[in-house]
């Protein structure tokens, strides 16, 4: 719709936003008849959306964590038939970040912690479905051979897409200033319409 996401990358551009946003509001308003409760209301929290999906009130749930469905299936909250998918035109993905605040008094210690979090051992534990089931932030292809094999050999539940499928459809998230403008515009032009 924007003519490729590439032009939206980088810092916020008011002129570009004003040109594209009306088309987005139009699309979202046109979608309303097909939405939960005809778009009269939206689930306030992700937990509520998960409940709606589990109860069959909605047909899909959106999440940033590609293996979330697997962990919810194993908890018995989602039916076994739950599957994950990405849009053909790409799905926004992001990864977990750690940041050190500029006025931190223990920068060195924070960096040690960040290293620990990035360690393949920690990352592998994090990705185990019975623990957290969150995908690793590491680029598996760039890891030493033994870790590469270990990550690739990790069992993958049927509801989870392969890392290759995910990464080939992943499109980057916009900078925060865009999100602010989109949220504000959505409230005014879609929610309150």
């Amino acid at each position: 719709m924007a003519g490729g996401y590439e032009q939206l990358l980088g810092s916020f551009d008011q002129e570009l936003f004003d040109r594209i946003a009306p088309k987005l509001w139009q699309l979202l308003n046109d979608l309303e008849p097909y939405l939960w409760r005809e778009g009269n209301t939206y689930p306030e929290t992700h937990t509520l959306l998960q409940d709606l999906f589990a109860n069959g009130e909605v047909y899909f749930d959106v999440t940033y964590n590609p293996s979330e469905a697997a962990s919810l299936v194993s908890q018995g909250r989602y039916p076994d038939s739950a599957r994950t998918f990405v849009f053909d035109s790409g799905t926004i993905g992001n990864t977990h970040y750690v940041a050190i605040s500029y006025n931190s008094s223990s920068k060195a210690a924070a960096m040690v912690l960040a290293n620990l979090l990035l360690d393949p051992v920690t990352q592998y534990e994090k990705s185990r479905p019975e623990l957290w089931g969150d995908l690793t932030v590491l680029s598996v292809g760039s890891l030493p051979k033994e870790w590469r094999e270990k990550f690739r050999a990790a069992p993958r539940p049927p509801s989870v897409l392969s890392p290759d499928e995910l990464s080939s459809h992943k499109i980057p998230e916009l900078q925060a200033a865009w999100l602010e403008a989109i949220e504000k515009g959505w409230t005014e032009n879609v929610l309150q319409k």
């Binding site: 306030e44 709606l52 109860n55 069959g56 009130e57 602010e180 409230t187 929610l191 309150q192």
Partner: protein
């Protein structure tokens, strides 16, 4: 000689009074400190932020910008109307049902103990739990919808009536009525029991029918008792957050939910507006409570 004796006595008495005064202040100190520091301090902080004084984001202004932006924003008026509607209706329903149930409960009947226990039960359940319970019970995929589906009343969850996330806040009102009926009802019951049957019997002897007895004898006696309770409920419903957050529609949302959204906005520039909203809620409650007291006193004078 006499004068100095007197003086000595007065001095002693003054010292004694001062001593009691000081010990009183010390005894009240734990409560006073909490009220002054946490409540008054928080209020002052909120007020100054609402006026645009927030050094952490480099705002040092003292102006009404946040209030103006808030009032002019398109969501404000519908939210205010919804909030007034929900709190007025919830309070009214709770009071009416409470008085009706109290009148029934003061009579003797079989199984009164169990009924009385069940009647008081909602008082012990937190609002949050009741809200989740209502969601599980009456949402379109809730227990009642499932039951209706099983017996063939509906063939799809979307056919079940919309009782939560709805335009009129029915789910929210339901929670508050369930919670607050015994709150008012127990007060009304105490009043009714403490005055005995004398007034009522006298009215009946003088030829009043049961409606007249209720309207001109019982009600004027109950109202002063339940008035403060209903004011508490009204102020509580008007400003409380968790129930409308769980059961309310995205738009219009109740004022407290708007305040929360502004407060948790990633943009810190919205913080003064969040504070302005909270201050406005407090001011609205104050105004409406004063108005409500006036109105009810007038009703009281007329019926008294």
């Amino acid at each position: 000689m006499v004068g100095s004796y007197r003086e000595g006595l007065d001095g002693k008495r003054a010292a004694k009074i001062m001593k009691t005064g000081l010990s009183l202040i010390f005894m009240l100190a734990p409560a006073l400190v909490v009220i002054l520091v946490l409540f008054a301090g928080g209020l002052a902080l909120g007020l100054s932020q609402s006026l645009g004084y927030m050094p952490i984001i480099g705002a040092y202004g003292f102006n009404l910008d946040a209030y103006l932006q808030l009032i002019k924003s398109p969501g404000f008026v519908p939210s205010l109307l919804l909030t007034i509607f929900v709190s007025v209706l919830a309070t009214l329903l709770a009071v009416v049902l409470a008085v009706a149930t109290a009148l029934t409960l003061r009579k003797r009947f079989v199984g009164k103990k169990i009924v009385y226990f069940l009647y008081q039960f909602p008082l012990t359940v937190p609002h949050l739990v009741v809200a989740v319970g209502v969601l599980l019970l009456v949402s379109q995929s809730g227990l009642m919808a499932r039951a209706a589906f099983q017996v063939g009343l509906i063939s799809d969850s979307a056919q079940f009536p919309i009782l939560v996330f709805d335009d009129l806040g029915i789910g929210i009102i339901l929670v508050y009525v369930w919670k607050e009926v015994p709150f008012i009802g127990l007060i009304a019951l105490t009043v009714l029991q403490s005055m005995g049957n004398d007034y009522e019997e006298q009215a009946r002897t003088l030829g009043a029918n049961s409606w007249q007895t209720f309207r001109h004898v019982l009600l004027p006696l109950i109202i002063p008792g339940i008035l403060p309770g209903s004011i508490i409920i009204f102020a509580y419903v008007f400003s409380s957050f968790e129930v409308p957050f769980l059961l309310g529609k995205s738009f219009p949302a109740m004022l407290s939910v708007l305040s929360y959204r502004l407060y948790t906005n990633v943009d810190l520039d919205a913080r003064p507006q969040a504070m302005a909203m909270s201050i406005l809620i407090a001011v609205f409650v104050l105004i409406l409570v004063l108005f409500y007291r006036r109105l009810s006193q007038r009703i009281l004078r007329r019926s008294g």
